[in-house]
């Protein structure tokens, strides 16, 4: 028998000092890898020289030119519109799917349902895009609709967003304390009242997170949009992709930096707000569950 050792809260791999140093180093290197390209884009967007490999001093010229770029502007507007509608529909459908999957343990075709919900998470987008497009073409042959355009892009994005929204909402539903809904019911609330007054507020943060996630997914999508777009429905990523294929360009660097800035601010603000709401909710929960006598 080996002698009893003092219990360690975090058992180290090769001694605590090495463990800490190695861990920090690994995390730092990993984050460098993740953030270096973004930093480089921002830096390049201020490069006065149109030749990407040379630094020609700092300038705001590319940002000024961005304002005059009608194609980008139109693409951005269309993308935001599609993304907002796609996110809304994804969250509604995803919530229904998540509730169905968590509350009904068995119904006919549940396995197929679960598989179809999560498959778009990993399915290569070229396959989803191609099959959706060929379906739309077939349907159009019979009924004359839908025309390829913003509507078909929206449908594709909802399919993708539905999968992500379901995962987010489902995780929340499964972590929810059933006692809260029980208590409301025992205090005399009717089922729909409880849903509106207890369940929905408890899910609110998950719904907000799911909306933001599906919004950015749609805003970012290239492949589905390429298959499903028609004449006149060129989204922002399609414009950027067709230019990015040609190589490094100052206009894309400037557009990219702006997108990074907006997303960073947006996500940081949103997550701070969500975290604060989460803490408040947790505190209220603790207060509510404190034994009173």
């Amino acid at each position: 028998m080996s002698p009893a050792r003092p219990a360690l809260r975090r058992p180290p791999l090769l001694g605590p000092g090495f463990h800490r140093g190695f861990g920090r180093g690994w995390l730092t290197a990993g984050f460098l890898f993740l953030y270096l390209p973004m930093a480089a884009l921002v830096l390049a967007s201020f490069n006065a020289s149109p030749l990407p490999a040379r630094w020609g001093g700092a300038t705001l010229r590319w940002y000024r030119e961005l304002l005059q770029d009608g194609e980008l502007g139109a693409g951005l507007w269309l993308s935001v519109e599609i993304a907002a509608w796609a996110a809304t529909a994804s969250v509604v459908l995803g919530t229904l799917a998540a509730v169905a999957l968590t509350r009904y343990r068995r119904f006919r075709g549940r396995t197929l349902f679960g598989g179809m919900v999560s498959a778009p998470l990993v399915m290569p987008e070229v396959i989803v895009g191609l099959s959706l497009l060929l379906m739309f073409v077939s349907v159009q042959r019979w009924f004359g609709v839908p025309e390829r355009g913003a509507l078909t892009i929206w449908m594709g994005h909802v399919l993708l967003g539905l999968a992500y929204a379901t995962v987010v909402v489902q995780a929340r539903l499964e972590g929810m304390n059933p006692a809260l809904e029980e208590a409301a019911a025992d205090l005399g609330a009717r089922p729909l009242q409880v849903f509106w007054l207890v369940t929905l507020p408890l899910m609110a943060q998950a719904l907000a997170a799911a909306w933001l996630l599906t919004f950015t997914l749609s805003l970012d999508d290239v492949v589905l949009s390429a298959f499903l777009s028609g004449p006149g429905s060129t989204t922002l990523p399609l414009v950027l992709f067709s230019r990015a294929r040609l190589g490094q360009r100052p206009d894309i660097n400037a557009a990219a930096s702006l997108i990074i800035l907006v997303v960073t601010i947006g996500v940081t603000v949103a997550s701070v707000l969500l975290a604060r709401a989460e803490r408040r909710r947790a505190a209220e929960l603790r207060a509510a569950q404190r034994p009173t006598g």
């Binding site: 890898f33 480089a40 290569p124 099959s131 970012d220």
Partner: protein, 322 residues
């Protein structure tokens, strides 16, 4: 108010859905709406490409598969596309190359991502939300633009290209065949793998972190108390307990990588032929819809097993959380 006989843990939503009114229509709506959407926009499209892959293409439409003429029922299946895929070495090579790059990306993501998630889960609890945020943030910013950024970093005179050259890595990389010649980093197998690992790393880290953060520290202490060295504890306790996360993460990387299009197009150059690009070209350049559909169908066949694995372990990873 609790009806007798109902278990106490029955949640209110259970009650909501067991209400007779809701039960009659609510349940059907709740399941039916998303189900119908998925049948129409996910399953039906696959059946349609399956049909198109064996159809003969006419000027603008397809011939019907089944025809009825003069008392003769004819089923015409056009197998040209599948024969081409089986017979042409180019397709076979493309499938193998796609599988190879997907596998290499998955292994590298796991090798980088596992320690990453492990140390994240062992960081101070107060720091963990911020670390998690930092992993998620790239995920929210445009994937297209982040891949594009690597073009600038790896081209001749780019920051990373110069750094790698200064480290003297050019010659070994060229000797290994990762790049065609010293100093040419962009549009090579090397840049393709860098782009794929970079893009998919968060997909590996997040499920791993989810399982590792839940890991009961007392089990590790118990192993240590029973005399296991930290190394043994790691392999016998930590790794087996994170299997669900490893498989979910690996599939989350491997499956989409097989059909990846944007990264090979931007970073791969002409030598890295991947199946997503072949499908794209068959459709957009050759306008050969049956061929593109046949390629899609074969890719689906290729990923069915990993897909089933993903479904199973994703559900399992969720169950652990409860």
């Amino acid at each position: 108010m609790t009806p007798a006989g109902r278990p106490l843990h029955a949640t209110l939503l259970d009650r909501l859905v067991s209400h007779p009114m809701v039960r009659r229509h609510g349940r059907a709506t709740l399941i039916g709406v998303p189900y119908g959407w998925l049948l129409a926009f996910f399953l039906l499209p696959f059946l349609i490409i399956l049909k198109i892959s064996v159809s003969e293409m006419e000027e603008v439409t397809f011939q019907d598969l089944v025809t009825w003429q003069d008392g003769r029922l004819t089923l015409a299946l056009q197998l040209r596309s599948y024969l081409a895929i089986l017979g042409d070495r180019l397709y076979l090579v493309t499938y193998l190359i796609s599988l190879k790059y997907a596998a290499v990306t998955t292994v590298l993501c796991l090798a980088i991502g596992y320690p990453f998630a492990y140390f994240m889960a062992r960081a101070r609890p107060a720091a963990q939300p911020a670390l998690l945020m930092l992993v998620m943030l790239p995920f929210w910013t445009s994937f297209l633009l982040r891949v594009y950024a690597w073009k600038g970093l790896l081209m001749e005179g780019g920051l990373v290209a110069r750094g790698l050259g200064a480290l003297g890595l050019g010659a070994p990389a060229a000797a290994l065949g990762l790049i065609p010649a010293e100093g040419l980093w962009l549009n090579t197998p090397f840049s393709l793998v860098v782009g794929m690992v970079y893009t998919y790393l968060p997909f590996m880290v997040l499920p791993l972190y989810a399982t590792l953060a839940k890991l009961d520290v007392r089990l590790l202490e118990a192993a240590a108390d029973l005399g296991a060295t930290p190394w043994v504890t790691f392999w016998k306790v930590t790794v087996p307990l994170s299997t669900a996360g490893i498989i979910a993460g690996a599939m989350l990387v491997f499956i989409p990588c097989i059909g990846e299009f944007v990264i090979p197009e931007l970073l791969g150059g002409p030598s890295t032929l991947m199946i997503g690009r072949v499908l794209w070209d068959e459709f957009f350049s050759n306008n050969d819809w049956p061929m593109a559909s046949a390629v899609a169908v074969t890719v689906i066949l290729l990923i069915i097993v990993p897909l089933a694995l993903f479904n199973r372990y994703q559900a399992e990873a969720r169950e652990v959380r409860r």
